[in-house]
């Protein structure tokens, strides 16, 4: 800058004091460059750990009986009961597990079964007390049955000195002639008066006096006979009402912990890990003597199709899931090779003659019981990602070999169709590792899982070349029903 130049000096002074505030994104970008995320490597020892977690998770998630707390509550437990004069009523027994509050008279089958039944009770059935009802007036009971008539809602002929009659009176006011439904009869009403009125047990009628039945209990004004009440005397006086305080699972919510039923299918490719090579062509350890010759087979495996399908049950929670299933598995692969005659000519020249070409196709069918354990690694309620480990237990049903051979010497072709089932390894454990994407909707959830799977046993037993299959594929699972 030229000396004694005031303009430059002035500009410089102004620029020295010039500041601009950077955006927060600038530091974020710098930070990410200074502290890059390290790529995690997969180590080989991850596999035994995964296997341990697999079985540990199985024991952790396997059902160990119902762990839901079951409690009983009587009317008194609900704090809504008036003192009941009848003995043995509303006594809770430990261990009882009933679900709903059940007014006893209505619980003898559907209340609608006694709705509007006007036909008389069968005569000659002394074991059944009859309740004859007429909407307008009481009808005489059938012969052989004790007369036990119930007043309709308009019938107020109740003797005030009968406590049981008093007890039923308030609810009689609310009696309707509509059809009762189980939902109505099972509704829990913690309000004290209503509850008491609704849940007061029906008294046991032993005399011939005219008795009233709480119409509210059944909401039916047309009970024909008392036999339906009579037949339940035991339960009526033991536990007219029980309440089970259990959390009823929402079986349509597929994001919750529970058991799910679904189907799966997968498609992929097989790769035989061991080339089907008997002897390498240039294996000089078997170099023929100067006068003789050897026959050498050389071949290699080729990829084939792999598919499987079946049903699966899954137990899952937010962090992990375990599933097992039953399905069928099909594998195909092939190998191609050639047979040579190697010889030494004139003690110095190595000679190879092609004897035949062959192409062999293998098909393998098996039942499979896939076990898998998923560990959630990311995602939200609807979309999540899981690490999948699994052990696929395949049981060989059939192993077939079809060989086409073309002879170069005499130009002949022929095929061999051999069943290798007897030589196959029946049990084929296959270890699987994959990454699963899961999409959870309200009524279903599905998974998409690219995987790699390795057969731990050779496809054929020892004495034959080891053929371990390596599968690469994609599996999809669709869980359509929550069963628990």
């Amino acid at each position: 800058m030229p000396e004694n130049n005031n303009v430059e000096r002035l500009i410089q002074q102004k620029m020295e004091g010039f500041r601009l505030e950077p955006s927060p994104a600038d530091w974020q970008a710098i930070y990410e460059k200074l502290h890059p995320r390290k790529n995690r490597r997969l180590f080989w020892w991850w596999f035994p750990i995964a296997a341990g977690l697999l079985f540990g998770g199985y024991w952790y998630l396997s059902p160990s009986g119902s762990s839901m707390p079951i409690t009983n509550a009587t009317i008194a437990d609900l704090g809504a009961a008036k003192p009941v004069s009848e003995p043995n009523t509303a006594s809770a027994e430990p261990g009882q597990t009933q679900v709903k509050i059940t007014p006893v008279p209505a619980s003898s089958g559907s209340p609608t079964t006694v709705q509007n039944r006007s036909e008389p009770q069968l005569a000659g059935d002394p074991s059944r007390n009859s309740v004859t009802e007429n909407k307008n007036a009481s009808q005489p009971a059938a012969a052989g049955s004790e007369p036990f008539t119930r007043p309709t809602t308009k019938n107020t002929a109740q003797s005030p000195e009968e406590p049981s009659t008093k007890a039923w009176q308030p609810s009689a006011k609310t009696t309707t002639s509509g059809i009762s439904t189980p939902a109505e009869t099972s509704s829990i009403k913690p309000a004290t008066d209503d509850l008491q009125n609704n849940l007061t047990p029906v008294p046991h009628v032993q005399d011939n006096s005219t008795e009233t039945i709480n119409p509210q209990l059944t909401k039916s004004s047309t009970i024909d006979t008392l036999s339906q009440v009579e037949s339940q005397n035991d339960s009526l006086y033991k536990s007219p009402v029980t309440v089970k305080k259990t959390s009823i699972p929402n079986l349509t919510d597929h994001s919750a912990k529970g058991w799910y039923l679904g189907a799966y299918a997968e498609l992929g490719s097989n790769m035989p890990t061991e080339p089907v090579t008997m002897t390498k062509a240039a294996d000089l350890s078997s170099t023929p003597s100067s006068s003789g010759s050897t026959t050498t087979y050389e071949g290699s495996g080729n990829n084939g199709l792999h598919w499987s399908a079946g049903l699966a049950l899954e137990r899952k929670n937010n962090k992990m899931s375990f599933s097992f299933g039953l399905g069928i598995q099909h594998n195909a692969w092939s190998s191609s090779g050639a047979t040579y005659k190697d010889s030494i000519v004139n003690s110095s020249f190595y000679s190879r003659t092609l004897l035949s070409n062959n192409s062999t196709s293998y098909t393998h069918t098996a039942l499979e019981i896939p076990l898998s354990l998923n560990f959630r690694i990311a995602g939200n309620k609807h979309s999540s990602y899981w690490i999948t480990t699994g052990l696929n237990n395949a049981i060989t049903v059939k192993l077939n070999q079809l060989t086409d051979i073309s002879m170069t010497q005499n130009a002949g072709n022929y095929s061999l169709d051999n069943s290798l089932t007897s030589r196959a390894s029946i049990y084929q454990p296959q270890f699987r590792l994959g990454l699963t994407y899961e999409n959870t909707q309200k009524k279903y959830h599905w998974q998409l899982s690219p995987f790699i799977q390795y057969g731990l046993n050779s496809m054929v037993k020892s004495g034959s070349p080891d053929i371990h299959l390596l599968h690469l594929g994609v599996q999809t699972r669709y869980y359509f029903k929550r069963i628990k």
Binding site: N5, V7, L10, K14, M15, F18, R19, A25, I30
Partner: protein, 228 residues
């Protein structure tokens, strides 16, 4: 190392010019968000040593102190704010990665500023916006004092925006010579141009800037005259 008093406690920005081995003012963002003004002085050497250990907190403190000034530098060498942010980010990354080369007896702010200028020049080269023409003979006429009064009235941001309106070559040479204080010889080496070209570019930049300033001044005068 005694802490400096006075200007630090009054919250004046020190511009990073006298921080060699001394203290710098660090603001606490958390406290600022809580509505509490808080600043602490941290020894520059200590902060740098923590940065050398890849301490993210120290790096952020250093960044927060110098970023406004350095962004202003980048702003003058570029044409828009996004470009300035890019240069700022690249410059700070280079600075943190080469912080071990800082000599403790030097001024940290000046050192960072040199890095920023070099980063900006590299960025300009990568953009290939500057096409130099060899101009050996130029009449150096610094008779531009007529713009002193308008410049003294202008805001720094307004002046920086005018510098950005210069053609890229003029802008670069003017920034390097008039503001950073590099000589023409140094600039010619930095930009790989001849000294004569550098001088001529500077004189044209100066003239161009004076015209812009006068034009803006006249527009202001006309605006206010019209209002009255």
């Amino acid at each position: 190392m005694p802490y400096l008093q006075g200007p630090y406690l009054q919250g004046r920005d020190l511009g990073g010019r006298d921080l060699g081995g001394r203290n710098i003012l660090v603001q606490c963002n958390t406290c600022a968000k809580a509505g509490v003004r808080f600043s602490a002085m941290i020894n520059a050497r200590e902060l740098v040593s923590r940065c050398l250990k890849n301490d993210a907190v120290a790096q952020k403190q250093l960044y927060q102190h110098f970023a406004p000034q350095m962004l202003a530098v980048c702003y003058r060498y570029t044409k828009d704010s996004d470009e300035a942010s890019d240069v700022l980010q690249e410059g700070f990354v280079r600075m943190f990665r080469n912080l071990n080369q800082w000599k403790e007896d030097g001024e940290l702010g000046a050192w960072i500023r040199r890095i920023m200028v070099n980063t900006a020049l590299n960025w300009l080269r990568s953009q290939k916006r500057i096409h130099w023409l060899n101009e050996e003979h130029i009449n150096e006429n610094y008779d531009s004092d007529s713009v002193i009064t308008p410049v003294s009235k202008m805001e720094a941001r307004e002046l920086a925006d005018m510098i950005r309106q210069l053609p890229a070559g003029y802008q670069t040479v003017f920034n390097l010579h008039a503001i950073e204080g590099y000589s023409h010889v140094e600039i010619s080496k930095m930009l790989n141009i001849s000294e004569g070209t550098c001088r001529s570019q500077y004189m044209r930049a100066r003239k161009h800037l004076a015209e812009l300033i006068m034009k803006t001044e006249n527009e202001k005068l006309n605006y206010y005259a019209g209002k009255q």
